[in-house]
């Protein structure tokens, strides 16, 4: 019972951590740059800001993870979480 309580506390901690990370990404992103991108890249960057998932964001963009990582740097989005 105690173990379950601990698990759920850990889970809550992680959820909060990821939510904070998303806030940081949103705050630092260069929205002007992002909105100027073609749809495929814009949607991928917005997805990355919301979720912090480099792998799927790269797939959405049709890029390698490395290429997309360079794009997110250009877009001012920090890699958090």
């Amino acid at each position: 019972m105690e173990a379950m309580g601990e698990l759920s506390a850990k889970l809550r901690e992680w959820i909060e951590y990821f939510e904070e990370a998303r806030e940081v990404r949103r705050r630092f992103a260069n929205w002007e740059f992002i909105k100027s991108q073609p749809p495929k890249l814009r949607v991928a960057l917005e997805y990355f800001i919301e979720v912090g998932d480099l792998y799927n964001a790269a797939k959405l963009a049709g890029m390698s993870v490395e290429e997309f990582n360079e794009l997110r740097i250009k877009a001012g989005i920090p890699s958090v979480g």
């Binding site: 749809p39 979720v51 799927n56 959405l60």
Partner: protein, 173 residues
């Protein structure tokens, strides 16, 4: 009914335009999108739908699996020797993965639908069109009227189902 499905381009570019597209996840826990399908998508509408699905954990990207890829290419070549519309790689990949992993294949592609019918290697694959999805949603009580929902779908996507397509659901229409 499989708990997971794999969707090709022809299905996604319609379904993403359907106003009640989230109903798909009443039937499937996860819908996989092959990389080769994702690579073809460029419109904001479809991509936003996919991004939202990924965020909610309802969609997942299916990577290229070498064995499946190899067999898909063989299917592409084989289908070109026949006097019927050939199947392209993304659909072929969906069919192979559907068979190997037991996923339902979501497609509107004539070439893929035909393969399922005439090629015994794919006879076991569950292939579903939006028509079939809407019928099942109706049977499960998620939509009120199959006929009305189909009309909505056809109007929103400009996908037309022929009399032959609709014949199997005759009593429901």
């Amino acid at each position: 009914m499989s708990a997971s499905a794999v969707a090709d381009t022809s299905f996604l570019i319609d379904w993403a335009r359907y106003s009640r597209s989230k109903l798909l996840f009443k039937l499937f826990d996860v819908v996989f999108i092959p990389e080769s399908v994702l690579a073809e998508l460029r419109s904001e509408r479809t991509l936003t739908w996919v991004a939202q699905g990924l965020e909610e954990g309802k969609l997942a990207v299916l990577p290229e699996l070498p064995d499946a890829s190899r067999e898909a290419l063989q299917l592409v070549a084989r289908s070109r020797r026949l006097p019927v519309r050939p199947v392209d790689y993304p659909e072929a990949y969906c069919l192979v993965v559907g068979r190997e992993l037991g996923y339902a294949v979501l497609t509107e592609n004539g070439g893929a639908l035909a393969v399922r019918d005439y090629d015994p290697n794919f006879a076991s694959v569950e292939v579903l069109r939006a028509l079939d999805i809407l019928y099942r949603l109706w049977k499960l009580g998620h939509v009120e009227s199959f006929r009305r929902e189909l009309e909505v779908y056809e109007r929103e996507t400009k996908r037309l189902y022929t009399a032959r397509d609709l014949a199997k659901y005759g009593d429901a229409l």
